[in-house]
């Protein structure tokens, strides 16, 4: 039966995450926006709590445990599983603060990758560790197939060399999942991901970025110089299979893009709720029963922004639902990310505009959210990359035809 409401059984989880957002995140939101690079120690206690929760059934985290797909799905029954749960959790957490969500211990994108593609032995070995993700290089951003970091097998070890930038929580995580090429002459099929403990000799932290927003979340740059790791730290198959390999790496995105879309959805809702409150105080309320054009221009604007929010939310839930039900969702995952990414920027900036100096000043969090928002239309695939994915899928075009 078609139903687009929050699943009843996951409502307690969403409620829990929402309490974290309001009780843990919001009170320290501004503090760590100002104190960039300072570790939000308040999160440690909370993370310990979360570890206990993860051991149980619930998972309100930022996606670390949530995106492993079931091998076989029950054809008949409708599942609202871990993808849905994780997305709902992320939405609520990012309603509180995106930066703090991104730097939740043991909830990194690296954890996502490990949870999604690691074998059982690796899962066990890396359990309980905080893992960051290192893909981008100075010369390769969206075009992740052209990364230059290399991994060369030497006996029982891989030797990694290269440079990685924009590693979220790179200075805080214990493990870095590094994308590197086994053979740059073989193109994207040779790209594999490697789990590198941060304290490995040759894994050199170069600097932390100063950013427009999400300042609570550290962004690190690394240099890899003859960095040696056990060959068992390669995630997935070491074979260079031109058909499957890169697709396998990209498949992670089908699970993680809805999460980032969820982040955008949470932030967007924070902006809308805050603006609704401020407009209400100013005597402007949205009347959903009456046409937008007979209402105050500010109410009509808020209505339009909220409509985009609603579309982004439902596209995100759709993508997660499809993942839970083992339906191919690359198209929907990218649709969700594209819509949520661009909408959250529109919404946040629109809300600042509607609230005037109240929105622009640091007394409210609106201006911070408007700065935080922009990253959500960039990382985990920029708007333009999502459009490429969507267009290729809709038009049945290869990456060679539609570049």
């Amino acid at each position: 039966m078609i139903n687009l409401e929050t699943p009843r059984k996951l409502a307690p989880l969403a409620k829990q995450a929402s309490q974290v957002a309001s009780e843990v995140f919001r009170p320290i939101s501004r503090k760590y926006d100002r104190a960039e690079h300072e570790y939000p120690k308040e999160l440690d206690m909370f993370a310990a709590l979360m570890d206990g929760k993860d051991a149980g059934a619930g998972n309100a985290g930022a996606g670390a445990a949530g995106v492993r797909r079931k091998d076989k799905a029950d054809e008949e029954s409708n599942r609202n599983g871990s993808n849905m749960a994780t997305v709902l959790g992320v939405i609520e957490l990012c309603y509180g603060d995106v930066g703090l969500t991104l730097t939740l211990p043991r909830q990194g994108l690296g954890n996502s990758a490990i949870a999604s593609v690691a074998n059982d032995e690796q899962l066990q070995r890396f359990a309980g560790k905080w893992a960051a993700m290192a893909i981008t290089e100075p010369e390769a951003g969206s075009d992740s197939a052209s990364i230059r970091t290399t991994a060369v097998l030497d006996g029982d070890e891989y030797v990694l060399n290269g440079e990685k930038i924009y590693v979220t929580s790179g200075s805080r995580a214990e493990l870095i999942v590094v994308w590197a090429s086994l053979d740059p002459s073989k193109g994207r099929a040779a790209i594999k991901s490697f789990v590198v403990p941060r304290d490995t000799p040759g894994m050199i932290l170069e600097r932390l970025e100063h950013k427009l927003g999400i300042r609570a979340s550290d962004t690190a740059n690394f240099r890899l110089e003859d960095c040696r790791i056990p060959k068992e730290n390669l995630l997935g198959s070491p074979e260079i299979d031109t058909e499957k390999s890169f697709a396998g790496a990209m498949q992670t995105f089908d699970n993680t893009r809805p999460l980032v879309a969820g982040m955008a959805v949470g932030l967007a809702r924070a902006c809308i709720d805050e603006t609704r409150k401020r407009l209400d105080e100013a005597g402007v309320t949205v009347d959903y029963t009456r046409p937008a054009n007979v209402q105050h221009a500010a109410a009509a604007r808020l209505l339009a922004l909220e409509a985009d929010y609603e579309a982004a939310l439902l596209l995100t839930l759709q993508a997660a639902w499809m993942a839970d039900n083992s339906k191919p969702n690359s198209l929907q995952a990218s649709m969700a990310k594209a819509k949520a990414g661009r909408s959250c920027v529109d919404i946040a900036l629109g809300c600042v505009e509607l609230c005037g100096s109240v929105g622009y000043g640091e007394d409210s969090l609106l201006e911070k959210w408007a700065r935080d928002a922009k990253i959500l239309d960039i990382f985990e695939g920029t708007q333009q990359i999502q459009l490429l994915v969507v267009a290729r899928q809709l038009l049945g075009k290869s990456s060679a035809e539609l570049r």
Partner: protein
């Protein structure tokens, strides 16, 4: 009533009797007779409303029949039920084989052929809102089913879908808000072989029209209601046998009134528009139209009226989604086949990204519409969700229509391709009020 109008009324009354006989069909002359009538009425600016059938209760009900709601499992789910899937498949087939092929001519003639309307009725399109006790076919009342059906039909053509679904809106209104007597009197014919032409008229010809503030007034006169006002873009009004009209009741707000077409003071005037032409849109003019106390639906409860307005908006969203999907499905092969500068234009990001945006916004329109409908089905409030779907379908739906023409360039602007019609039709989805119900 002027003498001319009276004469026309008589002419129409006899012609309707003729129209309802099987003889025309047996002789295969129905179309020509109707064309003659069309010519006869076209010249006048205004005509008395059609003299419709007599609605009398065959079965008595002790209490109003309401379709039950489907059981809610509490899980997020985008899979239509088996019943919904089967219905949509049948409608999609019909939309592709009969509706799309008839669309150009229907638009051109400002008229949907009766055979097509009859076929649509055979599919049960007008009966989704009729309780089983009164001859309905659907066990459960479902706005989602109505949305899926409208979406599938509008993929064929929005104007024809509008014409075909219009009587169902009246049946649904009486199914949802009618009392036992109103249901017994009016609903059975809608479940019959040739359902009456009927329209739910809310819209009025005025800029920034607000359906919650209709200028049409209903005043008390003894035990009667007397209604005056003008309704706009009423589907197939000239043929209409039964109308449900909104009017403001001073002191209590807007309410819905059932009006049979034979009543004195009811006129129609052709109102052809930018699009939706297949629905033969017309003004419905009420000049001191007198109806009994029993003509008011939901006992004039303003909350039922608000619900009606919202359900109508959801239905228009469904039409926009169906038409938007038609645009996308037309664009994809076109941009892949059309070549410029030595390769398909689909290979260019400027074109490909525009197609991607159509796909993304269309999916958002669809999901917001589904959510509003599913909340209605679950008995949850849906004002917010209907308003958001409406906003999205108004703006993104029109953008899809405009991009559909744009991506075909000059070819999009001429009538060889349907995109110019979809452009005209999609403008309607954001300004129409009433007329359809989810």
């Amino acid at each position: 009533m002027s003498i001319v109008d009276k004469g026309l009324a008589l002419a129409l009354r006899s012609s309707t009797r003729l129209a309802s006989s099987d003889v025309l069909d047996r002789l295969g002359v129905r179309q020509s007779v109707e064309r003659g009538l069309f010519r006869a009425t076209k010249g006048t600016t205004r005509a008395a409303a059609a003299a419709g059938r007599t609605f009398s209760a065959a079965t008595k009900l002790t209490s109003p029949a309401r379709q039950p709601r489907a059981a809610d499992k509490g899980l997020f789910d985008l899979t239509p039920s088996e019943e919904q899937a089967m219905l949509c498949e049948a409608i999609s087939d019909f939309a592709a084989s009969a509706v799309r092929t008839a669309a150009t001519e229907a638009d051109d003639q400002s008229r949907t052929p009766d055979e097509l309307l009859a076929q649509a009725a055979e599919l049960g399109l007008g009966m989704l809102g009729i309780p089983e006790e009164l001859g309905g076919v659907m066990a459960e009342r479902s706005a989602v089913t109505a949305v899926l059906a409208a979406e599938a039909l509008a993929h064929g053509d929005m104007g024809i879908a509008f014409a075909a679904l219009a009587p169902g809106a009246v049946a649904t209104a009486i199914g949802l808000w009618g009392d036992a007597d109103q249901q017994a009197q009016y609903l059975p014919p809608f479940a019959g072989e040739i359902p009456p032409a009927a329209a739910l008229a809310l819209l009025e010809p005025r800029p920034i029209f607000d359906p919650l503030r209709p200028a049409t007034k209903a005043r008390r006169d003894g035990s009667d209601w007397v209604l005056s006002g003008t309704k706009s873009l009423v589907p197939r009004a000239a043929a209409g046998e039964l109308f449900v009209v909104s009017a403001d009741v001073p002191g209590s707000g807007p309410a819905l009134f059932v009006i049979e077409s034979g009543v004195e003071g009811l006129y129609t005037a052709p109102e052809p528009a930018m699009g939706l032409r297949a629905a033969s849109t017309a003004r419905l003019i009420l000049e001191d139209v007198r109806v009994p106390t029993s003509a008011v639906l939901a006992e004039g409860d303003p909350s039922a009226y608000v619900e009606c307005v919202q359900r109508a908006r959801i239905a228009w969203c469904a039409l926009a989604v169906g038409t938007g999907q038609a645009v996308l499905d037309y664009l994809i092969p076109y941009v892949k086949e059309r070549s410029a500068f030595g390769e398909p234009i689909a290979n260019r990001q400027a074109v490909a990204f525009a197609v991607a945006d159509v796909g993304i916004e269309l999916e958002g329109m669809r999901l917001t519409t589904w959510r509003a409908a599913s909340r209605a089905d679950q008995g949850k409030s849906f004002e917010r969700e209907a308003a958001l779907a409406r906003t999205l379908c108004t703006h993104k739906g029109m953008k899809i229509g405009a991009d559909g023409v744009q991506l075909l360039g000059g070819h999009g602007y001429v009538k060889e391709h349907p995109v110019e019609r979809w452009y005209r039709d999609l403008r309607a989805a954001g300004l129409m009020e009433g007329a359809l119900l989810a």
